[in-house]
Amino acid sequence: MKQPFGSAVLEAAARLLAPFVLLFAAYVVSHGHSSPGGGFQGGVLFAAGLLLVKLTRGDPSQWEIGPRAALVLACSGVLLFAGIGLLPLAWGGSYLDYDAPPLFADPVAERVLGTVGIEVGVALAVAGIILLVFDALAGWGEPERSA
């Protein structure tokens, strides 16, 4: 995506929208618990917010998350999820058994914490992968560029 779509109108709109899209993404991730939403939806929104800037401003934008950073983001998301899953094994619980580690007295609170943790992991992974795929698809004319 070397050539931006930019025009004054688009740029103004993107400038106005992008922060709110990102904020909304954070809201959707954190509120997946009590309202429709969750990691996937939030992750997609997060990536969409960043891509909006990328589409209007072209490649070297202020909020650039390059393929390399996107890859790191995606990997760390999956690792966060898998790590949260592995943690209870150390306390004799099952995989993903969030209330096995003795953090709080209330097992439900631990379950909530675990759920939010994996949702964040999912959101990171999804956002990273969408940025990565967009980069690969958009930069297909120049294979040496992506990653």
């Binding site: 995606a74 990997c75 999956v78 790590g83 592995l86 099952s94 993903l96 058994d97 096995a100």
Partner: protein, 493 residues
């Protein structure tokens, strides 16, 4: 630690897959080391689990601590433990074998390849161990997506083969999912053990029949049963050899194993009507003959081996269709044997090609003098595929043959014999050329004293050739220790 083996078998390669690209940012060698370590750990866990299961009986793992019909569970019994060990063990061998080739790739590609490879393995392992039909679908898709990418790595023609496989593979996945949907609508559960109980009173309902038929068709596409094998020859022929070796050996076998689980564990014995099984059996008999005949017509060695796989999958499904304990024993043993011998054939053919450049049958003239060990391994595995006595292939084919005679299914007996004879023709013409053919002129150029293959490629090929013989000698132990335990479900029939 052994108590956690069932979950670690799958989760270790899966977690490592996310670690490998990060390691590749540092160095390609580190990425490779992490990948190898993870696969070896998974294989070790599978071995530990199998040993423990043989001693103390089935192991279960409840994810999230939720009891089965509500949560997801993994079940390791002797058979699934053996399958897991087969998949993970092959994973180690092929990863070692792929080493010299991948080492030439750029650093990040190296990382992506190894991550993809780990994901393919964890997908297959998850399919083997899971006790939940929907969880099986998720892992089926993980392994499928990974394999599309790995096949496309072969060449430009491989991208088309991969795309075709993607379309058919998605149809297979969708049919499977729809079939699971039918069963869910009728029983309200996704857990295999729970389904067995709740499907019992529903035997004969058209909904169950169609649901199971959809699942069987989906799995038949994935295991390339004859009229649905369209994706397989191109995918095998154009994929990189290590990838072909892995998917030919274990991927279709895992689908066959899942078919066994669905037909004989999930379904109540009364629900698998003989008519439906007979239909499957006829398709399998046709596959056995057609695959062998088509293999005969191929000049490209990899393509020939691919069609041969179509025929051998037919043998396996025929065993399931006969449905007697003897036939199912033969089919399960053939899953194991065919994995080892077809993997050995593909990797040995890759070795010959690496050394002499020969890819087509006529080019194998005199290959034995230049790549003696690879050709020797090829010959041993070929003997086994044909079904010559001391090798593994003889025993599984013998079980199938005896079972078909016992049932009076003469056409099946005929198909089995024909496939053995045909495979003797198409395999031994290669062996004959390799040993007795006149080598082309440039043979003199072969460097004297230079190793035939890099050690990393030679060792897996040699190990597999040895395994073909050892499995033949140990077949009685495999049958009594492992396969017999999977059969009580059949006694009720």
């Amino acid at each position: 630690m052994t108590a956690y083996a069932p979950v670690l078998i799958v989760v270790v390669p899966l977690t490592a897959a996310a670690l490998v690209p990060l390691a590749a940012l540092v160095s390609g060698r580190l990425a490779r080391a992490v990948a190898l370590l993870a696969i070896t750990a998974a294989a070790a866990a599978a071995l530990a689990a199998l040993v423990a299961v043989l001693e103390h009986g089935a192991m279960r793992h409840r994810f999230g601590g939720w009891p089965p019909p509500w949560g997801i569970e993994y079940v390791v019994d002797p058979l699934s433990g053996l399958m897991a060990l087969l998949v993970a063990g092959f994973g180690v061998l092929v990863a070692v074998y792929a080493g010299p080739a991948v080492a030439t790739a750029p650093r990040l590609l190296n990382g992506a390849f190894h991550a993809m490879y780990l994901l393919l393995l964890s997908g297959l392992l998850g399919m083997v161990l899971t006790g939940d039909l929907f969880n099986l679908y998720v892992f089926l898709e993980i392994s499928s997506l990974a394999v599309y990418a790995l096949i496309a790595l072969g060449s430009e023609r491989a991208t088309i083969a991969s795309f075709r496989y993607l379309l058919l593979g998605t149809v297979a996945g969708s049919f499977y999912l729809l079939g699971v949907g039918y069963l869910y609508a009728l029983t309200g559960t996704l857990n295999m053990a729970d389904l067995t109980v709740r499907l019992a009173p529903l035997a004969g309902s058209p909904g169950v029949t169609v649901g199971v038929a959809l699942i069987v068709v989906g799995l038949a596409i994935k295991m390339a049963l004859f009229p649905l094998h369209g994706w397989l020859p191109d995918a095998y022929a154009f994929a990189p050899t290590p990838v072909t070796g892995l998917i030919a050996a274990v991927m279709t076998k895992v689908s066959a194993y899942v078919l066994f689980r669905v037909l004989f564990f999930v379904l109540h014995p009364a629900a698998t009507t003989p008519d439906a099984l007979a239909l499957l059996g006829w398709a399998a008999a046709a596959a056995t003959v057609a695959g062998s005949v088509m293999a005969l017509a191929q000049a490209d060695v990899k393509r020939m081996l691919a069609y041969s796989s179509v025929g051998q999958m037919g043998c396996i499904v025929m065993g399931f269709a006969l449905g007697t304990p003897l036939a199912v024993t033969g089919a399960l043993l053939h899953i194991l044997n065919h994995a080892v011998m077809k993997g050995c054939l593909f990797l040995a053919a890759g070795g010959v090609q690496f050394r002499t450049g020969a890819a087509r049958v006529p080019e194998y003239d005199g290959a034995a003098s230049r790549a003696p060990l690879s050709v020797a391994a090829f010959t041993i595995a070929a003997c086994s595929l044909v079904g010559l006595p001391p090798t593994a292939g003889f025993f599984s084919k013998w079980y199938l043959l005896v079972a078909s005679v016992e049932q009076g299914m003469w056409p099946f007996t005929l198909a089995l014999v024909a496939s053995s004879l045909l495979s003797a023709v198409y395999l031994f013409r290669v062996v004959q050329r390799a040993y007795f053919g006149r080598a082309p002129q440039e043979t003199g150029r072969a460097r004297a004293g230079a190793a035939e293959l890099p050690l990393a490629m030679l060792v897996p090929v040699a190990l597999l050739a040895a395994a073909v013989v050892v499995l033949g000698l140990l077949n009685q132990a495999v049958v009594t220790q492992v396969i017999a335990s999977a059969l009580p479900a059949l006694e009720a029939r």
